[in-house]
Symmetry: C2
Subunit: 172 residues, 2 copies
């Protein structure tokens, strides 16, 4: 897909079937994530690629708890890419967000539906979230930046909402 078309037509998809993303496609998305720029190329983020259903469901329930709901905040998507970043790096939120952006763009380029799901910070700042990371062998003083859910939708792609009129200001 053309890169500009890709940026202009990407949408946040909020309904998924349980169809898995194949490994070749998934790795292209993950590799594109790692190519996001990071401040001074310090590569403060990590990407936790969760395909295991039990762990995916655990992360969903921790996320739902923060949100105060019992429904699945991941909209049924079978894969969750959690981006976390070293909180000792002052630019870690910028860095991690750019990785999230690359993951979202790459997914759409490859025909995979995706959405940024929030509350990664609250989940992995919680005792349960920290324990989960430890159990998974993830080390470091990491802050959750975002969850990028991946999968396929059987719903129509939503139209883009209009952009606000003063989004861009020219200083010529």
């Amino acid at each position: 897909m053309d890169a500009i078309d890709c940026l202009m037509t990407r949408r946040s998809i909020k309904s998924y079937t349980d169809r898995m993303v194949d490994d070749e496609t998934l790795w292209k998305i993950l590799d594109a994530g790692t190519m996001a720029p990071t401040a001074k190329n310090l590569q403060s983020p990590v990407i936790l690629c969760v395909k295991n259903k039990k762990i995916r469901d655990k992360m969903s329930s921790l996320n739902a708890k923060v949100l105060g709901t019992e429904s699945d905040p991941f909209y049924g998507a079978p894969i969750v890419l959690v981006v976390l970043a070293d909180r000792n790096n002052p630019n870690h939120v910028y860095d991690g967000s750019l990785v999230m952006g690359n993951l979202l763009t790459a997914a759409h380029a490859l025909g995979v539906s995706a959405c940024w799901i929030n509350r990664a910070k609250e989940v992995f700042d919680s005792e349960e979230g920290k324990k989960l990371l430890k159990d998974l062998g993830v080390d470091g003083d990491l802050e959750g930046i975002g969850n990028c859910v991946l999968g396929y939708s059987d719903k129509d792609i939503p139209k883009a909402k209009p952009r606000k009129p003063d989004y861009i200001m020219l200083v010529e």
Copy 2:
């Protein structure tokens, strides 16, 4: 350019000629910036597109002051896109960073060199930076997220640095 190729070959360019980006190309980049997802579609960011040389040089000097240097932190690039975001929105740093990501990706897709230049926060939190925004008619309680410089380089494109081995962790 293919979207995946674009994400994989984008580099942070740190040397620019004074060649301007034409308006048609510039607007494609800006529009792609506005299409980044934002939390709850609240569109907390704004993009200040600075082509005016006097204002560009003023922003450069404010940025240099934070950095403690007298050289141009914008590497001679003729255009600076400043992304700022409403600091009353708890997700404004994520939102603004995703706009920055789209701008960087779109620029590369169109053959325009770009780089995230930091210290937008410090510059626009300073009294001088706040006054500059006010003089430009930019309202709101805005936090600087990043400066995306744009232009053309006459140097070779740098090779990508290797990614750290533990960037991606699989939970299968």
